[in-house]
């Protein structure tokens, strides 16, 4: 006999769950959404609620538990365990925020707030331009200190403010959705649009840089029904460009999305937004409603909510998450374009890639391609943080150098700071010394230096900072965010972090380990995790000799 009968689910728990998830048959792929509703309503996930949800979904307890515990934003409270305090303050301690004093802030808040508020160190929340950041409930407090956080708590300012984005009406008044209407009406051909993207050399701006036009063509050739997944799980430490654009002009992205769906013949679209962007979620939900009303024949679009997992920015992990599972990357082949979401051919794009579609088609591929320096083509949205006067998203020509970027766009280094090093592509893109600040910044240009620009997240370090400390911060981040599936990443990141904490590094062993992580990890997380570590050994050996 199954022991499930020994502790039947209390009927009150079943009623509570049903009140939140509705009656009738539940969708397996919405498991994470249902968990959110429980977490939002009760502040945690109790064993009884999870058991009731499992029963309602005809899932096993293990299947629900393993998903719930995978995501950092769910608080699973097992029988007999204490429930978390009603309010949580999440303090980002990724590179930029740590450089800006996140650890001191954490200590200060823990001392000041005691047990009534839970204080947690969390990875990058995507607001590095105003580091350090503390998120009070869902309210992000930039340039945070203990007083500001305390003030927010006392004032009950715990909800995410709604961004003042340009709405549908304004966007249309300024000519928005004309291109989409032309496409749908047949005044534009899909082939023309795809050709425009190709000659503009638009590349995937999530970090991998795969040519967008070619991707459309590949998925186009796959059997219907084809699906589309939009990645707004912007989690690479130092990256905040997607948030920046969405907060201002969401319909520019949505129009690009609809054009892509039209050109490729997409049956249904899923937008995956990271949970940290709570204000954006509300706004985007409203704008999507407006969009549906305006274009009732457009493909169905579902807005999905992440739950705190960096790895879900990896395309196949995101697909797993949309299907309601643990965000573990899939092995390839088969590729997502071929067998993606729900086993269907899937067009997956970073939000920003779609953001540029309208402008490229309207202004012409030549306009976009003509941007760029040193033979590179197009524009890049650099998320700049660290020791510069004007951090933030700076739209700059591809191929610009770090020095140019700092001088021309960021108003130079902060007073008293000299350029020491920089991260060209978030935590995974490696670390370059000031001596290499003249390299063109673009896809493929940094490979020989063991680095890449990825999502173009630039963090600028000065003589006050340590590359070694940054590398350790990054490795701890990867260990925390590893999905746990493959050995080189799961065990490798954990062991590397421990070895890197030691006063003296075992350089040969770390090199050996790094090689296997790069060679044998399933996805980019594990493959790129050793980059900062390798950069330190290559460019900053003096820091390993007790020099810094």
């Amino acid at each position: 006999m199954s022991r499930r009968h020994l502790n039947p689910v209390p009927s009150v728990a079943i009623e509570e769950v049903r009140a939140l998830v509705g009656a009738g048959t539940l969708r397996r792929d919405l498991l994470i959404e249902y968990l959110h509703r429980l977490q939002d309503s009760y502040g945690f996930l109790s064993a009884d609620h999870l058991a009731a949800l499992a029963e309602a979904m005809k899932l096993s307890r293990a299947e629900v538990y393993e998903v719930a515990t995978f995501y950092h934003h769910f608080d699973v409270v097992r029988e007999g365990e204490a429930t978390p305090p009603p309010l949580t303050v999440r303090v980002c301690n990724s590179v930029a925020c740590e450089m800006a004093g996140a650890n001191e802030l954490l200590d200060g808040l823990r001392a000041a707030l005691g047990d009534r508020v839970r204080v947690r160190a969390v990875p990058c929340v995507g607001r590095c331009e105003c580091a350090p950041v503390a998120v009070v409930g869902r309210n992000p407090v930039g340039e945070a200190d203990v007083r500001a956080v305390q003030w927010a708590i006392d004032a009950g300012a715990v909800d995410a403010p709604l961004p003042e984005a340009r709405g549908l009406a304004d966007y249309r008044a300024a000519g928005g959705y004309r291109l989409y209407a032309d496409c749908v009406a047949g005044r534009r051909g899909a082939e023309d649009v795809i050709a425009a993207l190709e000659s503009a050399n638009l590349r995937g701006l999530g970090g991998a840089g795969f040519p967008a036009g070619r991707k459309w063509r590949v998925v186009c050739g796959m059997p219907a029904p084809r699906l589309m997944a939009v990645n707004i799980d912007e989690g690479e430490p130092g990256t905040f460009k997607d948030r920046y654009y969405l907060e201002r002009d969401p319909h520019r992205f949505l129009e690009g999305m609809l054009i892509a769906a039209w050109a490729v013949g997409i049956a249904k679209i899923y937008i995956y937004l990271r949970d940290e962007y709570a204000g954006l979620r509300t706004m985007l939900g409203e704008e999507l409603d407006a969009l549906r009303a305006a274009f009732p024949n457009a493909p169905e679009t579902e807005l999905r909510r992440g739950a705190g997992a960096y790895v879900c920015g990896e395309e196949s992990a995101m697909i797993e998450s949309i299907e309601g599972r643990r965000g573990q990357p899939r092995l390839r082949p088969p590729y997502v374009a071929e067998t993606g979401l729900f086993g269907r051919p899937t067009l997956e794009h970073n939000m920003e890639t779609l953001y540029w579609v309208r402008e490229i088609v309207e202004r012409g591929a030549a306009w976009f391609a003509s941007q760029g320096r040193r033979g590179r083509k197009g524009l890049r949205s650099f998320s700049v943080s660290g020791r510069v006067v004007k951090p933030g998203v700076h739209l700059a020509p591809a191929g610009i150098t770090l020095r140019e970027l700092v001088d021309e766009f960021c108003e130079g280094m902060l007073p008293g700071h000299e350029l020491y090093a920089y991260l060209p592509g978030g935590a995974s893109g490696g670390i370059l010394p000031a001596s290499l600040a003249g390299l063109p910044l673009d896809f493929d240009t940094l490979n020989e230096h063991g680095c890449f620009i990825g999502s173009a997240a630039i963090t600028v370090l000065s003589q006050q900072d340590s590359a070694r400390a940054v590398a350790l911060n990054a490795m701890r981040f990867f260990a925390h965010e590893s999905c746990g599936k493959c050995t080189p990443c799961r065990v490798g990141t954990a062991k590397a972090a421990i070895l890197m904490e030691r006063e003296a590094w075992d350089v040969p062993l770390l090199k050996e380990l790094a090689q296997t992580m790069q060679d044998a990890s399933i996805c980019g997380l594990g493959q790129a995790a050793p980059n900062p570590l390798l950069s330190v050994m290559r460019f900053f050996p003096h820091e390993l000799e007790g020099g810094k």
């Binding site: 009968h5 020994l6 096993s60 293990a62 538990y65 393993e66 999905c483």
Partner: protein, 904 residues
């Protein structure tokens, strides 16, 4: 089949279709290290120990998950590949405990073969050991997160207990201790684990020594093939073998329940009742004295002969056993028929599927299954009615669950919502005893919505018109209330079944153990006939047989109205054939059935009995009555392993050999004949059962001289055309042959009735059935319905499993399952004692809340001697199958006052 040519370490090799690089390499003698990959499990590619270099690829690729492509350049032994392979092994090894948990850890083995030295990395913080489960030890300090256990639990057995939580932790349910989880103890995870992180509670086996014996599981009718590991004449482990029914899978009983044979209560010497010891089921060894075999056998035979002389042959009867081999069953019935001289021979098939067999013989001319369980892979709809296979046929259930996971529509119909319902597309929880109404309503929909298979009906059946008239009177809307099922659901189920490309029906004792059991089965047969869902792969009728050899024992003639292979004793031609074969006169009068024999004993008409391996003092309905009948016998000879409740009432007890101690053939629910081989020697003075039967036969004047099972089987082949083609050598060689197998070179027929039914005119017969209520309905005094049945961990009356350490520790005490609201209304909590009382008796046990039970129904397993559920059951019989109504009687539930909750 064209292979793919590629280059492996500079060598041109060819991969077979569907092979991974790893598999192709293995076949070519190149061993690539691997841990998370295991034959039979889905390749997951997570451990990365098997990474190889592929020309043109940036990163290394897991060879277990990568298919070779034509012209692909693969290097499994390049410096880069080997460095990664070794580093992966080193990383995993660095987290292992100092002392290997399992002597034959695959990780240690690979590390040694690859020359991985002492790991250079610090060890992780180790989780504590979990010893909460009686059969399985959990040592996650040896876990390498390869998820083989998870895939075994979730994808093979579909028990869904193991999860991969957080960022890489093996958990059970909600991170519970294994013993407190919903684990069903199948041990598939243990079999899958490469390092011993999950291992038998009895510990790791040392390397080398001992022997292995290929045999079978002794429990249910699924017929799993098992390899026993034996050391010093003791079984130390049971491992699943690749048999046609189990393909390596086992359940908790098969994997962990082998130790009963060495229980201290095992009878080692013959026993004779002491003079003056009054017969009672509570009798103990103190009421008996030990005797020599010579004395005991003489005493046993003399008593039987005396009764035959004084009171005539009809005063004797025998119960054979469906736990014995075909050869034992055959000799037992031959002994009764030629030694006692009557057909008063029966066995527990009477209590499980007698009604099914009656209806099947009447309708389609054969009592056996039409298709094997494995045919679920060819079905697109599966109906399971009145059966709880996850408990009673666990390995068969895994195939059904696998099918459901693949998208096959599973329809579960049962008054109890069982575990299988979670996997079902439709779960109809109908009111107990309303089977006929429900099934007629389904037939009604098929008729009125034009879903019948006209061609099949016209070409292969008879009697459809009368059947059609009958079901036209029962539209779903008319029986909705009676059945407690929405008409819409009935209609959906009818359409799903009738429209299926191929649909199978499975049923168990929930269908058969009713006074209308035969009618229930008639309705199921009619559903298959009217839709033509029989005679093809993935279709048909499958009564899930209970005991490991109930099919074989029935085939061998252990039934009172039939000789071997189902020739009727009343049929002169049949009888004459056997008289010639056996050289003895046979009685044309059909014998009495199980319950009838004990009734006759109570009346003094049956005075002497020989019972081999059966326990009617636990298994029969209305036990007070049945036990009184047994106690009243002048002479009772019982042959068993233990002093069972029945043996306690004996005049002489002959210590029997256990399954693992003897060789013989056994026929599973699929009609597959398989060989069980002796793994260990019998203890003490215990003798082979075949020897005991022959010695008694000799003393009854039969001059038998069979050297062993092989000689008996040869005689059976001559007597039974269905197995004529199954030579003993073939059985030994192939391990399994499915009958009918008429010729020695015939392959055997898993699917039968493909073009005709074995009836007189070759047609299947519709037999209309009308709803009749159960014999004893609830009333003001006895307001609830009692359903009896089994639990996963215990076999039948518990004689074996309650003497298995792990199994009894898992389910150590009787319990009464009650709907949670009913329990609440009673003012009771789960865990408190409650009493069940019927017009025949009362028992008390702890209550369990079971939300799967509808209000007004209670369930109690009958395996607990200390609270024997059959004291309560109603002995009224189905008129055709003579099967008692174990699944329905009126009962009263009361709290036992002042009884504390158990201390947990």
């Amino acid at each position: 089949m064209s292979g793919v040519r590629f280059t492996l370490d500079g060598r041109a090799v060819e991969a077979r279709e569907g092979e991974s690089i790893l598999q192709a390499a293995q076949r070519h003698g190149i061993d690539i290290p691997h841990l998370c990959y295991k034959d039979g499990l889905r390749a997951d590619g997570n451990c990365r120990a098997c990474v190889v270099e592929i020309g043109g690829d940036r990163a290394l690729a897991p060879s277990c998950c990568r298919a070779p492509a034509a012209g692909m350049q693969v290097q499994a032994r390049s410096a880069r590949a080997v460095a990664a392979q070794k580093m992966v092994l080193e990383l995993l090894k660095s987290d292992m405990p100092d002392e290997a948990v399992r002597a034959d850890s695959e990780l240690d083995d690979w590390a040694q073969r690859m020359g991985v030295g002492v790991p250079r990395f610090p060890r992780r913080a180790q989780p504590a050991a979990d010893a909460s489960h009686p059969a399985i030890a959990v040592r996650l300090d040896a876990c390498i997160q390869c998820t083989r256990c998870l895939r075994a639990c979730r994808e093979l057995q579909v028990n869904d207990v193991i999860g991969y939580a957080h960022r890489g932790e093996i958990v059970f349910d909600f991170g519970d201790p294994l013993g407190a989880s919903s684990c069903v103890g199948c041990g598939e995870c243990v079999a899958a684990c490469p390092t011993g992180a999950l291992l038998p509670a009895t510990g790791s086996l040392p390397l080398g020594g001992g022997k292995t014996v290929d045999s079978l599981c002794p429990y249910c009718g699924v017929g799993c093939q098992v390899t026993y590991r034996v050391r010093d004449n003791r079984i130390v482990a049971a491992e699943g073998r690749d048999g046609p029914a189990n393909h390596g899978r086992l359940c908790v009983k098969g994997r962990f329940g082998y130790d009963y044979v060495r229980h201290p209560q095992r009878l080692l010497k013959p026993l004779i009742r002491k003079p003056g010891a009054v017969k009672s089921v509570d009798n103990t060894l103190a009421d008996f004295r030990e005797a020599s075999w010579e004395e005991a056998l003489d005493f046993a035979a003399d008593g039987l002969k005396r009764i035959r002389q004084r009171h005539g042959k009809y005063a004797l009867a025998g119960f054979g056993s469906a736990k014995g081999s075909n050869e034992e069953a055959y000799l037992f019935q031959k002994l009764v028929r030629t030694g006692f001289g009557t057909n008063n021979v029966d066995h527990c098939t009477r209590l499980c599927h007698a009604s099914s067999v009656a209806a099947l013989l009447e309708g389609i001319g054969s009592g056996a299954v039409s298709n094997p369980v494995a045919d679920v892979q060819h079905a697109d709809v599966i109906i399971v009615i009145g059966a709880n296979p996850t408990v009673n046929h666990p390995v068969a259930a895994t195939w059904m669950k696998n099918a459901a996971e693949r998208g096959v529509k599973l329809i579960v119909m049962d008054p109890r919502e069982t575990e299988l319902a979670r996997h079902a597309a439709y779960s109809l929880q109908f009111k107990p005893d309303s089977d006929v109404a429900l099934l007629n309503a389904i037939a009604h929909v098929i008729v009125t919505e034009g879903l019948v298979n006209e061609r099949f009906i016209a070409g292969r059946t008879e009697g459809y018109e009368a059947f059609r008239e009958n079901v036209l009177r029962t539209p779903p809307e008319a029986v909705e209330k009676l059945c407690g099922v929405d008409a819409a659901a009935i209609r959906s189920v009818a359409r799903t079944y009738a429209r299926a490309r191929a649909a199978m029906i499975f049923w168990g004792m929930g269908v058969s153990q009713h006074t209308h059991g035969t009618d229930n089965v008639r309705c199921l047969i009619a559903l298959a006939l009217m839709t033509g869902q029989i005679g093809r792969p993935g279709t048909g009728l499958h009564p899930l047989r209970g005991q490991n050899n109930v099919q074989g024992a029935s085939d061998a003639g252990l039934i009172p109205m039939m000789l071997p292979d189902y020739g009727r004793v009343a049929d002169d031609a049949v009888r004459v054939r056997f008289e010639k074969l056996w050289g003895a006169a046979l009685d044309p009068k059909p014998g009495l059935t199980v319950v009838e024999i004990l009734d006759a004993a109570r009346r003094g008409e049956i005075r002497g009995m020989y019972i081999m391996g059966e326990n009617p003092a636990m298994s029969d309905p209305d036990l007070a009555h049945a036990r009184a009948g047994l106690a009243k016998l002048e002479h009772l000879v019982v042959q068993d392993l233990f002093l069972t409740e029945t043996a306690a009432l004996a005049d002489v007890v002959l210590p029997a050999s256990a399954f693992a101690e003897k060789t013989g053939s056994f026929t599973n629910t699929d009609r597959t004949v398989q060989l069980g081989r002796a793994a260990i020697d019998p203890p003490g003075e215990v003798r082979q059962d075949l020897w005991i039967v022959q010695e008694l036969a000799r003393r009854l004047g039969l001059g038998w001289n069979y050297a062993g099972p092989r000689e008996v089987f040869e005689e059976m082949r001559g007597a039974m055309p269905s197995i004529a083609g199954v030579a003993w050598e073939r059985l030994a060689r192939e391990g399994a042959v499915t009958y009918p197998c008429l010729e020695e070179d015939a392959p055997g027929e898993p699917v039968i009735f493909t073009d005709r039914f074995p009836t007189a005119n070759g047609r299947g017969k519709f037999v209309p059935a009308e709803f009749r209520p159960a014999a004893e309905l609830p009333d003001a005094d006895y307001p609830l319905v009692l359903i009896t049945g089994r639990v996963l961990e215990h076999w039948h009356t518990g004689a074996m499993t309650r003497r298995s350490e792990a199994l009894d520790a898992l389910e150590p005490a009787a319990h009464i399952d009650v709907n949670p609201d009913d329990l609440c209304a009673l003012g009771c909590k789960a865990g408190e004692f409650v009493t069940l009382e019927t017009r025949r008796g009362k028992v008390s046990a702890r209550a369990r809340a079971d939300a799967g039970l509808a209000r007004g129904t209670v369930f109690m397993p009958f395996c607990y001697a200390e609270a024997a559920a059959n004291l309560l059951t109603n002995p009224v019989l189905d008129p055709f199958g003579k099967i008692p109504e174990f699944k329905y009687c009126a009962v009263k539930l009361t709290p036992v006052p002042g009884c504390p909750l158990p201390v947990v």
